[in-house]
Amino acid sequence: MKKVKINWSRFYLIAVFILLYLPIFYLIFYSFNAGGTMTRFTGITLEHYQAVFSDKRLIGIVLNTFMLAFLSALIATVIGTFGAMMIYYTRKRNYRNALLSLNNILMVSPDVIIGASFLIFFTFLGLSLGFSSVLLSHVAFSIPIVVLMVLPKLKEMNDSMLDAAHDLGANNWTVIRKVILPSITPGIIAGYFMAFTYSLDDFAVTFFVTGNGFTTLSVEIYSRARQGVSLEINALSALLFLFSMLLVAGYYMISQGNLTKSQKKRRKEHREAVDSL
């Protein structure tokens, strides 16, 4: 007789996933509640979703939040990628380590402190709070993330490729464009998506620097939740959850599809090279 073995690692994994996903599904489940509160489920309704779509202010905030996330991640990715290259190609080891540590300190320092210092800084400069101040602060706290995602790819890269390119007469810009950027692309894309999610769910920093009618979703939900979470928020959270699932699926498809394509290409080139010998 075959003894049934309990696969503990799988059991553990399932338990963790249940723990993480259950609250979200609980929230989504109640977004359909006709009862109006989270206390008892009385029947299915879509009125909370209707309320979300008819709330112009909320829709505006959602649009602003996503625009902010896409834009700040883009700027941060550009700055962060070149920053990572700069750190990587710094000759002096001590200096490089110092730069890297400074980058890491920004990663671990509490959001509240970053937010408060941004508030003081912006008002000291006389900059009015609003879209620009939020954008600047999001770019600022996203850069270290991008740097951290890009650096390993730079380390993976074969440095002799650069020498070869230089020997063949490429100037610096051509080397960056033709050699470095293609080989660190996965890191850049990962950095972009990380920066995007960071910007999307940041509350602490954003809370300090919003103003003049500009606010983001996390800040808005927080100030509403203080008065008791209405099911409209549940409905909105369900929609956002769906959206993030689509986003993850999209990211998976981009990276997967391209990976196989490039693999195919590489394999083909390899075969051709072998054949021509």
Binding site: M67, F70, T215, S223, R224
Partner: protein
Amino acid sequence: MKKLQSLLIGVVAIIGLLFIASHQLEKAQGFSGNNTLTIYNWGDYIDPTLLKKFEEETDYKVSYETFDSNEAMFTKIQQGGTAYDITIPSEYMIQKMMKEKMLKPLDYKKIKGMDQIDAKFKNQAFDPNNTYSIPYFWGTLGIIYNDKFINSKDMKEWDDLWQPALKNNVMLVDGAREVLGLSLNSDNHSLNSKNQAELSNAKEKLMTMVPNVKAIVADEIKMYMINEESAAAVSFSGEAAEMLANNQHLHYVIPSQGTNLWFDNMVIPKTVKNSEGAYAFINFMLRPENAAQNAEYIGYSTPNKAAKKLLPKEITQDEQFYPADSVIKNLEVYHDLGPEYLGIYNDLFLEFKMHRK
């Protein structure tokens, strides 16, 4: 590189689309240049239909922003960077803002309807002659209890919170002045006390309440009490009104030993940009029908006596929320204690919080 390029193009396209969409949305709502009135108010503290009505009547567009504590509001306004035209802080914060010269004195030539405000809520110590502020809502601090667990005659004053029957069944609002104040009141001391002995006695007394305290929480009290997680709680009258509306077993008591009378008043901060709009809004909110509608929606007590007449009798005759004048006389308004004594209050409250269980 190709992949990066397509990512870049895609992202830029999305940003462009989002920008156009949000721009269109803003235009559809009519925001433009100088007709915007920026209001900075507590979350969920006005009937949204009133804002719409105001916009239709006056052609001003309201940009409505919210805060969740007096302190957060204070910091934002003090730092500047945003032009708020109207904000609605509580009385001790008004006093502090006056001291910091953050408020503009009101021009009573432009205000209509001030005579509607009940005289007993005017000319308070925190703002003599209402130079800077006009009452918006008022209320009390009291006890909410559930009649399934507590008999009404066992819940009349602060001391009843100490009864052994309530073991692990009392929730307190998370505020140093509120909690120390109720302890001071229960000893018949002023809740603005600056007497060191009275204060340490109040803290010692609170320590003996520890076995009864289930939690020290903020706005979540509302949800917990409606769900009957606790037999009694200490919170504000407006919060209580909402709890009572959702659970018929709940009742609100203004303790006979006296308690806090609080105000949230409309003020015009120094950062004002649209002064005309600010006065228009004040006049709009002073109009009895608007004040009444707002009071019915929010559930707090209105200081507007003409509005009170318009409200349904079962609201205005409810002694829980519109107590008799004799009770009101017994109540105390918070004074700004100054940083030194505020620090002492906070420290004592922290000691109490750390000692529980």
